[in-house]
Chain length 322, copies 2
């Protein structure tokens, strides 16, 4: 899992993934009190960055592997990335989703032709269910983050960030990433290590789900207690991945945590000024840039606006939040 | 007003305007029953394409002209384009806006530092008010559409469209433009005439405001009766411009008209699948692509998603429309 793997991923993704724009508007800068560059991954295919990693993993499979089919578990963004990749490559897909996943994510995943199996997020272990299904069906598990191909795929976002920030005259600053299991964060960090070493990644998580931040502080992988609830559904993970944490330990700065209220406010401000649609867990990094400036080093901030798959009712709630 | 003016405009706009992305998602294609490429001008600075023309006009002024200041009339998008250009170039700006302009547009225009003068859209003539103010203040009028610099500035959007469609393998098809006075439509048509001659521009207007479509059909400039109402505020103009109509007469195909209901439905679908924020008058062309396919030639359609400046209440209304 090196920089070269990310370069290889970029070649696989060429012509498939969108090179998403880097947005910057004065109104957001004014609220944050600094320059804020927004990597609009909500404009990626399937509405989140997850298509990158899924495509990189599945398109790298042999014909024999593809014939076996794929199993993945996801609250909805990885699900769509896997489902669309499988649809394009004609690979059978089974997706394990929590029964409380946003309707829009379930509908989109189904529309890409995937077979969906629901589980109860409070009482069942999605990893065990996925493993069981993979075994039963002879299929290949595509992990949501802790996989070299998946991390390298997400890392292509980092290659774009390095190029785009340079073009905008930014070569030093803080790179805030919406962080669940750490696939995007570690992929970006590996890309920036080579291409923009003065941009330091800091992972941003929902309050109550700061497993990555606490793990970084303690130097070892720690789990959340599982009691928390949050509307930032895309990035609610129990524990950092082994691979992602090994990258994070070496390359990440300290973590940050964002309340649901602030995530919703960031969604509303992204709607108003950036004209992009974000889901709560896709606005987490932007929220930290907007509302936690005192915790950041001076200088510009780059944020991932990682996803935009959200139900209308939640979006309307966000619009009422500012 | 030629292709070369658009090339000159592109040079002025370099580093100032955003090269906005061309979006394409399978769900929108499926609804339209054809390929739909969406030029996301809502991601332009100030949230609409209008920054292009305003910047091209104002940045081309001499120091003496800039010192006199600028007057413009607009329901809010041209207003913001002019106000931001003036702010950057340190030119005093007076903007004449209808008293029923969306609050978000008024607030943003004021935030760019412009002086705002309101008028009653039903009883007063904005052109006369603007002329009077320009005379009184010794300022220069920047027309919203019927001006060679403004048209050439909007035409830079057409240069990008020609390049982006070519990269996506599309060199033949219908180019649907959200059309008020015709600045964007005619600018794009002039650019495509040279760079993508097999893409034919067809202007799309709100039902009840089809002055351009009727004028094209009759071969002469006709006015609306002024009795209509529409939420597509960005493109409610009384009559085609002289310059824009002379271009349109030569280069446009027949016009189309979109109901408010369909514009709101298109906003909602753009929110859901494209993850962009559109205002009603910025979704007009997309609505025609989605819901009036029978009126279009076969083949791909390109649409301008021209603006995204909309009040939360209107947006929430759109989200409930599908």
């Amino acid at each position: 899992m090196t920089y070269d793997d990310i370069i290889a991923a970029r070649a696989r993704l060429a012509g498939q993934a969108v090179v998403t724009p880097m947005l910057n508007v004065p109104q957001i800068d004014a609220i944050a009190g600094r320059r804020v560059l927004v990597k609009a991954e909500c404009l990626q295919r399937t509405g989140s960055f997850k298509f990158r990693g899924a495509w990189n993993r599945i398109s790298a499979m042999s014909d024999a592997e593809r014939g076996r089919g794929v199993v993945a578990s996801s609250s909805g963004n990885h699900a769509q990335g896997v489902a669309l990749s499988c649809k394009i490559l004609d690979v059978p897909a089974t997706i394990v989703m929590p029964s409380d996943a946003p309707e829009t994510k379930v509908d989109a995943t189904r529309a890409y032709g995937a077979d969906i199996v629901f589980y109860d997020r409070m009482t069942e272990d999605r990893y065990a269910i996925s493993l069981g299904l993979a075994e039963e069906r002879g299929a290949i598990l595509v992990p949501p983050f802790d996989d070299p191909f998946v991390i390298a795929g997400q890392g292509t976002c980092g290659l774009e960030i390095a190029k785009q920030t340079r073009e905008l005259g930014v070569d030093q600053g803080t790179m805030l990433t919406c962080c669940g299991g750490g696939g995007l964060s570690s992929g970006i960090a590996l890309a920036l290590e080579r291409d923009a070493p003065e941009l330091r990644v800091r992972p941003v998580e929902p309050v109550g789900f700061e497993d990555f931040g606490r793990s970084l502080a303690e130097g070892k992988r720690l789990s959340n207690d599982g009691a928390g609830v949050s509307v930032q559904d895309a990035i609610l993970t129990p524990k950092p991945g082994k691979l992602t944490f090994s990258v994070g330990k070496r390359l990440f700065g300290p973590g940050l945590a964002v309340s649901d209220e602030d995530a919703l406010r960031a969604m509303s401000l992204a709607w108003q000024w950036l004209k992009i649609v974000l889901e709560p867990g896709g606005a987490t990094a932007l929220a930290a840039a907007l509302f936690q400036g005192e915790a950041l080093d001076e200088g510009p901030v780059i944020v991932t606006a990682s996803g935009g798959n959200v139900d209308p009712a939640m979006f309307a709630r966000a619009l009422g939040a500012v």
